[in-house]
């Protein structure tokens, strides 16, 4: 069963410039694993070396952040869309770094 995965612009060099890819899987974890298996350069962008999703990477199953829906075990349906969105934060309360 394939679901659509929406790829943010900076990661498209790793998906052959595709903004949306279809990936098989029964749950979110399987979809993400199959996604990085098909596009290996995505793995370090999405996952830490220990296999956990990087802290600034948010993954939504339709409108739900998977952190709040059972993480990787959340089942998926063929009509679902998985969207990868970075968490964005910052601020001036520190010295300039660069």
């Amino acid at each position: 069963m394939a679901v659509k995965v929406q790829i943010p612009a900076p990661l498209r060099p790793f998906t052959g410039s595709h903004s949306t890819v279809e990936v098989d899987g029964r749950d979110v974890g399987e979809v993400l694993e199959n996604l990085v298996a098909a596009h290996p350069q995505l793995r370090p962008q999405l996952f830490q070396p220990d296999g956990h999703i990087r802290s600034f990477v948010n993954v939504y199953l339709n409108d739900e952040d998977i952190r709040y829906t059972g993480r990787g075990q959340t089942p998926v349906q063929p009509t679902d869309t998985l969207t990868i969105v970075p968490s964005v934060a910052g601020g001036s309360a520190a010295r300039c770094c660069c």
Partner: protein, 142 residues
Amino acid sequence: MSLILPRAALEAIRSHGERDYPNECCGLLLGSADGGAAREVREAQPLRNANTASPRNRFDFDPAEHLAAQRAARERELEVIGFYHSHPDHPARPTQFDLDHAAWPGYSYVIVSIRQGKAGEANSFELAEDRSRFLDEEIEIR
């Protein structure tokens, strides 16, 4: 990489920074990135600073608002190609905190300095491939 920024978008960023002063403002850079030598902004979209604990020197995107904005942009065949935020009474340079909270390389990060409520310089940066630092990015105003 350089950033092509329409004057209207730059003015929108500066106005947003002045409007939200003394708090930090934040938003999206929407446009196109075709893999060429430049990212081209079509418009700047303000988002709410969701940081309620320390909004004068921190900003957070509201995740749901960010998701909705990214989707709406796609429906208009625009892409999120970067982000902007203000530094109230602080230089338009990234801080260690900005670096620690950066997303992937490949986005433009525009920072505008707001001094005593008036917009000052604006600079753009991109994250080094190894995420170790920000690199200066040339802004081409059109």
